[in-house]
Symmetry: C2
Subunit: 512 residues, 2 copies
């Protein structure tokens, strides 16, 4: 062993307070073939079943504007019942000429990302009302917690995007909360954003306006260089509520990519089979995509997967299950059939950051990677079926995703990496610590974890015997301590604040 | 919701002491395409590099018998230095006509398994000297612990095989320990066995003799119907010790399948690159496989993967890393090139049953599944780089593997599973709890976990708020309480005991 190695070994062994080390921010893509678990014929069966659902049953769309658009596009609309039936030819036609890949621009151009093809975007969790950490336990989310969470997600390079401010700040008024959330996203991280737009068309418009200010651009500029992703959910089965429909139209008009994600929990909001739940998901996706195209032909839209199942004995939602994994892979096959990017998630139903939280998330993540997911929502911090956002879980998730990113890097095979000279130098039963081949690679030979502890049992125990969850707790505190706000033009900041103030006043007076 | 559902829901919600539920014992296979991360040309580069290693550097084989066999097979043997060099043609020739698939017979014929092709065998951990559980902590392994561990592995249907009695009973004399281990394996479980044969040819012979008694057969009978797997390791780099070589010959003479598994930790016992470590692994595999064929032409042999890396700063072995996952997939590609079954493992370096233990094991398991591993060793109970065997980890592992088994079951797609009638019945925004389609599937619609808790936060908390590790602790105790010894003919048991007594006396007097 060289002196340098001995020194490094001593310093690592002597302290558990390692400096926080992570890989740089980088675009990620999956160079391998996607996994397929159903045949082309079976993909076609699901496609045909979903066309039949749209033709014979249809969707209920609770927005008069949307109903008008669909009627104009030759759908069979019943205004009274808000029921829309789609003839298969119309759906097939509207699915052609959709863009299959787009760029989402960040205010820091180095953090601009591609969506589609083989690329993968990891986004932090969106939606929880609760927040938890090992020190303070589970509690309602606050503005202070949200700020901390966005800072952490922004500091962790493996996340490509703030997926929705992490949690809802329940201490702020619900009518104007979305403004504070979007402001925090814009100012605390320089990555791209998916706003949590709070389900009205007007609020979606606010997020779009704030994105324009952040990017210092106008309607046309934002359309050419999208900066946000709009997330839309159906109220499965077969219901698209007015707020979602109106928000969808705002994003489409602004040229910002949207994903349509049905909430198809098999056994509760969808049939109690993977095949049936995915067929229904597909029908809801296609119907709503048709609506985006009726609103703005050619507007960027992509395919959302969220199909999971419930526990049939209790009705509890289950996530990261084998059925979840199967439906992700099948959704990848369907999305590719339509030439659309795929959105899915990393999920777990566990009530705390325990072994279950990891293995359910891991089953989701591995299925997403094999399915060639392009946009992985909820990839950092998700806990308890999405009700709670956890600081320690965010750190574990960062490790899980970094490991996947390292796994996806192609193995280099050439005379140099094959290292036959080192094998000769080491000798029978010898060791490679001191070979020239090893010393050349000393610094960056292998994946460097952010959370894993590989020290031997005695060293680990004598240094406090901290579990990975306890180490994650220290890590997020260290990151918050070291956090530096990404620079923003003071004029832009002023403009954002002025917009918020004006809108808050308007909402106070007019209600919207 | 039906009355039956309400009742079931109440009973589940009211107690965390669920009856232990698991899937039945069943053969497992992977019907999907294996993942490939290197090109055919790259596979060929590794193959050629390993032939070059065997030709120019060779192996050191520390057994005179083995050296004679290799010399007879036209290898270039230097008796003094024990160095063997292999001409590429000789290796290529010895790799032809190897059997690609075999059956391992269990004393309960319903637990007989196939090894090779698309089949997957999950085996419990082999080798740890320490044992741990949440109540008693980490301690040296004893006979009592080993008995408990074999009972647990035998009771968990997802494990197809006892992979080596779980842990070493350090309270028994080392010279005769293997006899007690094999006796415990034979009598406490009716699945197939991989003995931990303790590295001498004579002890390997003891395990074979005991297998003959267990199966009530003779040399020819056991050869026709193999009942055990022999695991062999090289002392990387490029060293095959005498005990391993002699044991290998015993298994080959008895016609019992062996896997050759090099201990190629990149950066320590192999080059500090994935390419170099896999090339060296491949060279060691091919060289030792040639030796099995020199001993007994056509004897069943398969390809072992154990390549991982060390932490370059501390020298600590790391497991379940991205490099580990890459090398598993590459090993699958190489094993298929040779038409041989693949052995790999589920591994972690974590010092306790924590989040890290799960995500490292999960990364190993997912890579194994994608690589089309045929024999997954250490799949239950492995902890701390294989030094410790954990009772709670065994339960978590059972859940991880059961989830994979469920994921690998093909999705059924037909009119019935697509469930369009149920979608019609549920209605817009309705629910599926009460549809006929759901009620027909109520019992077995989805994966039923053994460890996961999907209840909502409040119910979970009010019922004790137990983490998955704490629940695993209760589960293994419950299984031990319910354990029933599989029936064995009293005559067979007597014969096994007599064999052990005779051998113990002989070893006491003669030393071997």
């Amino acid at each position: 062993m060289s002196r340098r190695q001995s020194r490094a070994r001593r310093s690592r062994q002597s302290s558990s307070d390692r400096k926080f080390v992570q890989r740089p921010f980088q675009a990620l893509s999956n160079p391998y073939k996607p996994m397929e678990i159903i045949s082309e014929d079976q993909v076609e069966s699901i496609h045909q079943a979903s066309l039949k659902i749209l033709r014979d049953i249809g969707l209920r769309v609770e927005s008069d504007t949307a109903l008008r658009l669909l009627s104009d596009a030759r759908a069979d609309v019943d205004i009274t019942s808000k029921r829309v039936r789609f003839c298969p030819e119309m759906v097939e036609e509207m699915m052609t000429d959709l863009p299959g890949e787009f760029t989402i621009h960040a205010r820091n151009p180095q953090k601009t990302v591609r969506l589609g093809g083989n690329s993968i975007i990891f986004a932090t969790v969106c939606g929880p009302s609760f927040v938890t950490d090992l020190d303070r336990g589970r509690r309602s989310g606050t503005h202070a917690d949200m700020v901390d969470f966005i800072k952490l997600g922004g500091s962790l390079n493996v996340f490509h995007q703030d997926g929705g401010s992490g949690l809802e700040p329940l201490d702020l008024p619900p009518e104007t909360r979305h403004l504070d959330m979007m402001y925090a996203q814009i100012t605390l991280t320089d990555k791209t954003w998916q706003p949590n737009w709070m389900n009205t068309g007007r609020r979606a418009r606010d997020c779009i306006e704030m994105a324009k200010i952040a990017m210092q651009t106008d309607d046309e500029g934002l359309k050419k260089r999208p900066a946000i992703i709009g997330g839309l959910n159906t109220n499965s089965p077969l219901l698209f509520d007015g707020g979602q429909a109106d928000g969808m139209r705002e994003f489409a008009l602004a040229g910002q990519p949207v994903h349509i994600t049905p909430f198809t929990l098999a056994g509760a909001m969808a049939p109690a089979t993977v095949a049936g739940a995915v067929a229904q998901q597909n029908a809801e996706c296609l119907g709503c995509i048709a609506l985006t195209q009726a609103a703005v032909p050619g507007s960027p839209t992509f395919y959302g997967h969220f199909t999971s199942n419930v526990d049939m004995r209790t009705g509890s939602p289950a996530f990261g299950t084998p059925e979840y994994a199967q439906s992700v892979i099948m959704s990848g096959q369907l999305a590719r059939r339509y030439g659309l990017p795929l959105r899915s998630s990393s999920t777990t139903a566990s009530a705390c950051v325990d072994l279950q939280a990891v293995y359910e998330s891991d089953m989701s993540i591995n299925a997403c990677i094999q399915a060639h997911v392009n946009y992985m929502m909820h990839a950092g911090g998700w806990l308890e079926g999405g009700l709670t956002c956890s600081f320690e879980k965010l750190i574990v998730d960062a490790e899980l995703l970094q490991m996947q990113a390292a796994f996806l890097e192609p193995v280099v095979i050439n005379d140099d990496t094959l290292g036959l000279s080192a094998i000769e130098e080491a000798g029978f039963g010898g060791h490679f610590f001191g070979t020239a081949h090893t010393l050349e690679r000393y610094e960056n030979a292998f994946y460097e974890p952010i959370l894993s502890d590989w020290r031997n049992f005695e060293t680990w125990r004598d240094d406090g015997g901290r579990t990975a969850a306890q180490r994650a707790n220290r890590i997020w505190k260290q990151i918050l301590k070291d956090y530096e706000k990404p620079p923003i033009d003071p004029g832009v900041d002023e403009e954002l604040k002025a917009y918020m103030a004006e809108r808050k006043e308007q909402i106070r007076i007019e209600g919207v």
